[in-house]
């Protein structure tokens, strides 16, 4: 009996220990608001690294310290495995060296993003390695899961934040995450873009792609010359690069367009991708009779095609508010247009699909277009993949006159401030994939020659007592109008007037008495955005010694200089600016004009700046014209570009000489 009891006790103990071991090996769900989640887990591996495994070579560390490098990647390794069931497993290992106190303070956390709908992520290693050999484990209870939501956009994206403990300067952090991309959740081909060169040094970058037997080999491509990729096994590609310098920083660059990348994805083609996405969009269009009456009501009284299009654009962009519910397939497939219409809200693809649906019903050749908010360089689309695109707009091809080619108009329906003839400046020139049967490859959205447009008419009455009366009308065009509407539309009338007064004061000396100011075309994007003002300026000049008068072209100096760039190594994408200023100076009866000022003809590769004068009656009219068209400014020409803008700004001053009228 005792023997049996002993055996039972041993068996129970074995069961206890074994069960604990099994329990320990099973990943533990991380918690969000105290509740476990089903997409992020803590599942430490048995295998761990020591400091010696990841330590930097002495000469490299000395070099980094000499160069003032705060922190760097000692190793960044990714393994992608394309499974026969369609899922993709990704194993990411990041070893970072924090060399300074500042790096410890500012970069003591690491993070990993996970799409709760289509992915599961397991933290397999998260600890700190100290130079003395000590290893400080991360307490899984300190891991944070944060939802990536905004006021008007809600997604399945979550950020897992890993707060490393025991950090000191010289420590290394190790974070390994295994992610499973579930193919049954994601209706588009899988793709991932890696950046083997970033803004901090990477000592070693490794990438391994493998795939199960029978799986179509994944497509991959890179534009990073230093990355050496080769087939090392029949179903394996290995890439690696060492001692990767930081990519040069610049303030005005789109990193997606400039950082070297390695793109990996399920093999597909652009036409197939366009068809696939098009078929997903197709499901959203409403039945034939649906929305018919609503459309008729919307277009009531609109006769010309332009007016009909503007009505539809105005309705979708302004009366369907932006709200992105990007959960599940809602992040990819637009909702039925009927639903969007009735809800009066939707995200970019919901609004676009509604617009396309309505426009087609109104007889237009409209189609949705995938685009990107941060990519303008077609050459960076290294393989056909959906992952480049994060936005959707609509385009309409208008028939040409007399059998001509016609022209294409594109609309960003998430922008309630732009008029129907203006594509939002932030997507102008962006890469796009038209979702049409004829699509063969991506191209770029059209871009205005001048994204920013401003016309200013100012009338100055120079009074004999030295005072000045000013009447000014500013007409905002293109993206400038959208910018102004964006500032004013969300405000109350009272706050709008306050904003206008402050804006006026910014542009004028203290002591200028603002008599009146008002606006037009703020609430209706179809009409022109205009600000009018009148002001009185006492003691503007000394009437006893009045020989010269100076004033400044409205805001020109600051407006132009705003487009300066401090880029040093990267090209600069300039959106284009056009300005027309007409300033009338009515002289007092006591004086006559003796010199009108300098004619200006600044012509350069960047555009032109022109000033002319004419005298009509007792009125000097000064006309200033600036045309700086859209373009890419090569990095080596940026100093010249900046100087050109400075020269234009410097000559915003208008000056002329007067003398006492003879016979008085």
């Amino acid at each position: 009996m005792q023997k049996i009891l002993t055996r039972l006790l041993v068996a129970w103990l074995l069961l206890l220990v074994g069960g604990s071991a099994v329990a320990a090996a099973k990943p533990t769900p991380l918690k969000l608001n105290g509740q476990p989640v089903g997409f992020a887990f803590w599942g430490p591996e048995q295998r761990v690294y020591s400091y010696d495994d990841v330590a930097l070579a002495a000469e490299r560390r000395a070099l980094f310290e000499e160069e003032g490098v705060e922190y760097l990647y000692g190793l960044y390794r990714v393994e992608l495995h394309f499974r026969a069931d369609g899922d993709v497993e990704e194993h990411e290992l990041a070893v970072r060296h924090l060399l300074s106190r500042a790096a410890v303070n500012n970069h003591g956390n690491d993070e990993h993003w996970v799409d709760a709908f289509a992915e599961t992520a397991t933290i397999e290693q998260a600890y700190v390695l100290l130079p003395d050999g000590e290893r400080v484990e991360t307490d899984p209870n300190t891991l944070l899961v944060k939802a990536d939501n905004d006021d008007d956009i809600f997604t399945d994206n979550f950020e897992i934040v890993v707060p490393f403990a025991g950090l000191r300067p010289g420590a290394a952090t190790v974070l390994a995450v295994r992610t499973r991309h579930k193919s049954d959740s994601y209706p588009l081909p899988f793709s991932r873009t890696f950046t083997p060169q970033v803004m901090i040094p990477i000592e070693r970058f490794e990438m391994r792609m493998t795939w199960d037997e029978g799986v179509t080999p994944p497509a991959w491509n890179t534009d990073f010359e230093k990355l050496d990729c080769r087939n090392t096994e029949p179903r394996q590609v290995d890439c690696q690069a060492e001692q990767i310098e930081p990519h040069p920083k610049d303030p005005d660059i789109v990193y997606s367009d400039t950082l070297p990348t390695l793109v990996v994805g399920e093999a597909t083609t652009w036409p197939a991708l366009a068809r696939r996405m098009s078929s997903l969009v197709q499901t959203a269009y409403s039945e034939k009779q649906e929305l018919k009456r609503d459309l008729e009501k919307l277009l009531e009284g609109a006769t010309s095609p332009q007016e009909r299009l503007a009505r539809i654009h105005g309705f979708v962009s302004q009366e369907i508010r932006y709200l992105g519910l990007e959960h599940g397939l809602g992040g990819i497939i637009p909702r039925p247009t009927r639903l969007t219409f009735s809800r009066r809200f939707g995200d970019c693809k919901d609004k676009t699909t509604l617009f396309v649906d309505l426009a087609r019903r109104a007889g237009f050749d409209a189609y949705p277009v995938l685009t990107s908010s941060n990519r303008k360089n077609l050459e960076k689309l290294l393989i056909p993949a959906a992952g480049y695109f994060d936005h959707m707009v609509a385009c309409v091809r208008l028939p040409g006159v007399n059998g001509g080619e016609g022209r294409e108009l594109c609309f960003d329906l998430t922008d309630p401030y732009s008029s129907s003839d203006t594509l939002s400046d932030w997507v102008q020139g962006a890469v796009r994939l038209k979702l049409t049967e004829a699509t063969t490859a991506p191209d770029r959205l059209p871009g205005d020659r001048f994204t920013w447009a401003l016309e200013v008419r100012t009338d100055f009455q120079l009074n004999a007592d030295g005072s000045l009366d000013q009447k000014r009308t500013r007409r905002y065009g293109r993206a400038n109008a959208a910018w102004l509407r964006g500032r004013l539309q969300p405000r109350s009338r009272k706050d709008r007037m306050k904003w206008l007064r402050e804006d006026f004061e910014d542009d004028h000396y203290k002591g200028v008495e603002l008599k009146s100011i008002d606006y037009q075309g703020i609430d209706d994007s179809a009409s022109q955005a205009v600000i009018t003002s009148t002001a009185h300026m006492a003691e503007s000049f000394d009437p006893e010694d009045f020989r010269n008068f100076q004033s400044w072209e409205s805001q020109l100096g600051s407006e132009v200089r705003w487009f300066r760039t401090e880029n040093e190594t990267h090209d600069y994408s300039f959106a284009g600016l056009t300005f027309r200023g007409e300033t009338h100076y009515r002289l007092p009866e006591t004086h006559r004009l003796v010199h009108e000022g300098a004619q200006i003809d600044f012509n350069s590769e960047f555009g032109s700046f022109r000033r002319r004068y004419r005298l009509q009656d007792r009125e000097l009219v000064v006309v200033t014209e600036i045309d700086l068209p859209r373009g890419t400014i090569a990095a080596e020409r940026i100093p010249s570009f900046n100087r050109f803008l400075d020269h234009v700004g410097d000559n915003a001053r208008i000056t002329f000489d007067v003398a006492v009228s003879t016979g008085l």
């Binding site: 600044f602 350069s604 020269h647 410097d650």
Partner: protein, 378 residues
């Protein structure tokens, strides 16, 4: 009526009667006293040859007083200052002095023709210099001045040859009657000398600027069309549109200039200022406009600003034209400002349309040296 030769006409030639009807010299008439050679030399040099008419006058009076009278001695006296006439007067004087000695048995002028030709050559240079002084071109005037100095330096030699003979002849006269004390300046001569010296002093004073300018032009570097000039700072370049420009010392016109040039047309100048204190185009153009107004009164001003093609630096081209009577001149001014310096090229332009166009082109040829962004103060 007797036939006369051209020598008679000038009053220096021997009377025809001397050849056909030899009549003894009237040695009792008063003579101008002999003149010491050094005093004569001083007179010629100090008066820059202006005493020649007086000398010819005295010589003619001596000859006419002791022979038959010819034309008024004032004619040859004045003629000596003229080309051709002066040469004939000189040749006649040489021959008459030679004849005077020979006929009186008191010795003659050696190698009459050689002396005559030598004197004519020096006179020709002297006459050319006098004419050149009245021509409008600065450079010619400068060269004329040089020729005048050379001619005046040479003039005593032929004159002294004659004077020496005349003195020798007069010293052999027995109990001659002198118009004044021999070998001393007569009061009239002293007065004349004083007058001439005063006149020369005044002319010299009045033309100090002209003379220094002339001298500077002569010392300057003559430049050719297409040649590139730059100042001491090496900040800019100017390309000559035509020939005839002369680069002179930097401070030739105004102190603090970086470059100074005389133009081919009289009165045309080009000069350059540099500012290293961060002055802007607006500031300098405004300053210049004020200065122009204060010096020229009412102005017609045209200003245009463009970008220099290579550097995209703004440059102001301004034309200031004086409209007031007596101040009608044109200035072209090019002003360019880099980050740390400003270059201002001023062209004062006179002359015809071609000269104006060339000078304007010169001012407009202003270019900045590539890569230069700062300057040392000039």
């Amino acid at each position: 009526m007797t036939e006369t030769t051209h020598e008679q006409a000038e009053g220096l030639g021997p009377p025809m009667a001397a050849a056909s009807n030899a009549r003894p010299w009237d040695l009792t008439a008063p003579w101008h006293p002999p003149m010491s050679l050094w005093r004569f030399s001083v007179l010629i040099l100090l008066s820059l040859g202006c005493c020649l008419p007086l000398w010819i006058l005295r010589l003619t009076e001596d000859l006419q007083a002791h022979r038959e009278r010819g034309i008024n001695p004032l004619w040859p006296s004045a003629g000596i200052l003229l080309p051709l006439a002066g040469w004939l007067v000189w040749h006649s004087a040489v021959r008459r002095v030679a004849a005077l000695g020979a006929e009186a048995g008191r010795g003659t002028v050696p190698q009459v023709w050689a002396t005559s030709l030598f004197g004519i050559a020096v006179l020709a240079l002297y006459h050319a210099a006098l004419i050149g002084l009245f021509l409008p071109h600065d450079l010619i005037v400068g060269m004329a001045g040089l020729a005048l100095f050379v001619a005046v330096a040479l003039l005593p030699f032929p004159c002294l040859l004659l004077q020496r003979r005349i003195n020798a002849y007069k010293m052999t006269l027995a109990n001659p009657r002198w118009t004044s004390q021999p070998f001393k300046f007569a009061p009239g001569e002293i007065s004349f000398l004083a007058l001439v010296l005063a006149l020369l002093g005044y002319v010299t004073y009045a033309n100090t600027d002209f003379m220094s300018r002339t001298l500077a032009r002569m010392e300057g570097q003559t430049l050719a069309a297409g040649q590139v000039v730059s100042g001491e700072n090496g900040l800019y370049q100017l390309t000559l549109p035509n020939d005839g420009w002369v680069q002179v010392g930097t401070d030739e016109f105004y102190e603090g200039s970086d470059l100074s040039l005389y133009g081919p047309a009289e009165g045309t100048r080009l000069f350059v200022y540099i500012d290293c204190d961060g002055e802007t185009i607006d500031q300098r153009v405004s300053f210049r406009r004020g200065r122009m107004r204060s010096s020229m009164g009412d102005l017609a001003i045209e200003e245009r600003r463009v970008l220099l093609a290579e550097s995209l630096v703004p440059v102001s081209y301004a034309r200031y034209t004086g409209t007031r009577k007596g101040a009608q001149q044109t200035f072209w001014v090019a002003t360019v400002a880099e980050e740390d310096f400003l270059v201002e090229v001023l062209g004062r332009i006179r002359g015809g349309e071609a000269d104006q166009a060339a000078a304007e082109a010169f001012v407009r040829s202003l270019r900045l040296e590539e890569g230069v962004t700062s300057c040392k103060k000039s």
